[in-house]
């Protein structure tokens, strides 16, 4: 066991109860993150990346979600076995999350100031919760995310701001106190290209200067390459490949990663590959064995019978595919 791991997820299985059975969404996820590390979690719609992050914060919808198995060690303590008080401490001081849609993440009936003060206050120790101190911090974080005219902004309601500004507010909330881990769920997706670029650049700078461990969830490989040192590729509730950014883009191994990389259109032209045939499986009755095998161009007999393990290819590069592991 590595003691320098900030977050260590082992064999996590999360199901959703629905009419007719269980949706087996997460199917044995292994994920870890070192102190100061920046990783990206890449996957297409419905692969379970948001479910994974919500499990870490224990904000899954209740009562239909069901954590079937596994453990999430955050600084050595299992989040899944914490009581409410401990959990609140993790949420206020340990982990900060930036959500995909800044419009939905901010409460429309409170001013920006009220919401920022609330978050900041709870992240501070009792003795430092005086109004002056809190407001000093709030103004300074707003400066950090390059928002002008901070005093006036605090009196505004979310609806008075543009999408880019709202996302900056959400980022500033994560910065109000030193946190151990920052989770950003698709931080630029709902924004325009130029605005997305601004937000990502801001996020990158802040993460570097604060030296925060970061998980960025995204469906865009370009964004992942831009921001992360290491990348996890997820497909249908399992991590299929993980490697350092450079390695993953120069030497992708899992057939899904290869297909995904080929599908991305390039600004240098050269046409588009024909994509990956088929679609994401039904979680009610997921395929047996490797969940990618019905769509896989290099499938073997063993793929439909056994689940592949995580096979080590080179330092930091792991692939969950029989092509690179135990041969049948």
């Amino acid at each position: 066991m590595n003691s320098d791991r900030l977050l260590d997820i082992r064999d996590l299985q999360v199901w959703y109860r629905v009419y007719g059975g269980y949706l087996k969404v997460l199917d044995g996820v292994f994920f870890h993150l070192g102190k100061g590390e920046r990783v990206a979690l890449v996957g297409e719609t419905g692969c379970g990346k948001t479910t994974l992050m919500k499990t870490i914060l224990r904000i899954l919808p209740q009562p239909e979600s069901h954590i079937h198995h596994g453990e999430i060690l955050f600084k050595g303590k299992d989040i899944l076995r914490m009581n409410y008080a401990e959990l609140q401490r993790v949420r206020s001081k340990g982990i900060a999350m930036i959500f995909q849609d800044p419009t939905a993440a901010l409460n429309p009936v409170f001013t920006i100031g009220t919401q920022l003060f609330e978050v900041t206050k709870h992240a501070l120790p009792r003795s430092e919760q005086s109004k002056d101190h809190v407001s000093k911090i709030v103004i300074s974080v707003l400066k950090e995310v390059a928002l002008p005219d901070q005093e006036r902004l605090l009196r505004n309601y979310p609806i008075q701001l543009s999408g880019g500004m709202r996302q900056r507010i959400c980022i500033s909330m994560a910065l109000t106190a030193p946190r151990d881990l920052l989770i950003a769920d698709e931080p630029g997706t709902s924004l325009d290209v130029t605005i997305q670029d601004q937000i990502l650049r801001l996020l990158k700078e802040l993460v570097r200067s604060h030296d925060t461990s970061t998980i960025v969830i995204t469906h865009s490989l370009g964004v992942a390459r831009d921001i992360a040192d290491r990348i996890y590729v997820m497909y249908a509730g399992r991590i299929v490949e993980t490697a350092n950014s450079l390695e993953l883009f120069s030497n992708p191994l899992h057939p899904y990663t290869v297909g995904l990389l080929r599908s991305v259109p390039k600004i240098t032209g050269g046409g588009i590959a024909s994509g990956i045939p088929g679609h994401i499986p039904d979680y009610l009755n997921p395929p047996t064995g490797c969940r990618f095998h019905p769509r896989c161009p290099s499938r073997m007999d063993v793929c439909s019978q056994k689940k592949p393990g995580m096979y080590h290819v080179s330092p930091n590069h792991f692939v969950s595919c029989f092509l690179y592991g135990e041969k049948p």
Binding site: V193, T194, Q196, S220, S263, P265, T268, I272
Partner: protein, 336 residues
């Protein structure tokens, strides 16, 4: 041959009134474009730039405020109800969100069949076999015609929307962000299909998107829109190798890419700043001047006119003049 020519097209929406009279939202503000037969024109812009309004005005969902659009020699800038059916048949549209553009209370056979009954007057067995043929064209199995749109995946829904657009045998298809709601692996499939269909059926596309890397791979010609006006038009390869307008450079340098090769193509010096102003209060002069890193003295008072700097490459910016290529500092920069 020019299939569609748009001349100084305008579409204003009245959004309110004050003492001086009505307040307009200038969604499309004097656009001139032409689309050759068999080519794909890519129309790129951020949200609120008016690209969808332009498409809706061309297809007849809005009546233009001014200007004209000429399709195969006919002026189509009239009310939709006054367009002949033969003209409606020639132009079809595929919308961004297939989940809301297909009627959930009809099955797919009925959805595609409506266009066939209306435009090609097919009935009974003929109608059935035409639906099957269209489904096969987009590589969906014939039993899809009995399915409901709600029971199929997003990519398949978009293929159904494409099949419906193909039904009347049109010559121009307007594709309004056809893949932006889809994942990359599905997007690749749909785009490949669209390119193949274009070759097989000799179609003309107006492809609207906000994604520059997609447009690089589908369009022959690219036009950039900003606040209801065109900033730059050029051939696709030229557009990416030699972008001229500061906004275009800002856009290209903002695209997240996945290889070193692409990284080198990006103009380095342009870092995006600012946000799109509201189209109700368009800034005076050049509408981009507030975000422009190369703003000059004339930019905030005088609106530049579009000029052709080299063959087929049009730019609307004070930095460039007719025919004579580039200003000095731009010359050095584009060599980097």
């Amino acid at each position: 041959m020019i299939l569609l020519e748009i001349k100084n097209l305008k579409k204003y929406f009245e959004v309110g009134r004050n003492r001086k009279g009505p307040i307009y939202l200038r969604a499309v503000d004097g656009i001139s474009l032409s689309i050759e037969e068999g080519e794909t024109l890519g129309l790129v812009g951020e949200s609120g730039s008016g690209k969808s309004t332009l498409a809706y005005t061309v297809i007849g969902m809005y009546r233009p405020t001014g200007g004209e659009a000429i399709f195969k020699g006919q002026n189509i800038a009239v009310e939709y109800s006054r367009r002949p059916l033969t003209l409606k048949k020639e132009m079809q549209i595929v919308f961004q969100d297939p989940a809301s553009s297909l009627n959930p209370r009809r099955n797919i056979g009925q959805i595609i069949g409506l266009n066939l009954r209306l435009h090609r007057k097919l009935q009974g067995v003929e109608l059935q076999s035409a639906v099957v043929e269209l489904l096969q064209r987009v590589e969906l199995s014939p039993d899809y015609m009995y399915k409901s749109p709600m029971s199929i995946g997003g990519g398949e829904k978009q293929l159904v929307a494409v099949a419906r657009a193909l039904a009347p045998q049109p010559s121009l298809i307007l594709l309004d962000e056809p893949t932006s709601a889809l994942d990359v692996s599905i997007q690749a499939k749909i785009i490949t299909k669209l390119i193949n269909l274009q070759k097989e059926l000799h179609l003309t596309y107006l492809f609207i998107t906000h994604d520059l890397s997609v447009i690089r791979n589908v369009a022959n010609k690219i036009a950039i829109m900003y606040l209801g006006k065109i900033c730059e038009i050029a051939e696709a390869a030229e557009f990416f190798q030699n972008p001229l307008h500061p906004y275009t450079r800002m856009l290209i340098s903002s695209v997240p890419v996945i290889s070193e090769e692409e990284e080198r193509l990006k103009p380095k010096k342009y870092i995006s700043s600012g946000e799109i102003p509201s189209p109700v209060n368009i800034p005076p002069g050049c509408s981009f001047h507030m975000r422009c890193p190369e703003r000059g003295t004339r930019c905030d008072t005088e609106d530049p006119v579009i000029v052709e700097v080299s063959k087929g490459h049009f730019v609307r910016c004070h930095l460039f003049r007719q025919g004579n290529d580039l200003c000095k500092d731009h010359q050095t920069e584009s060599n980097i």
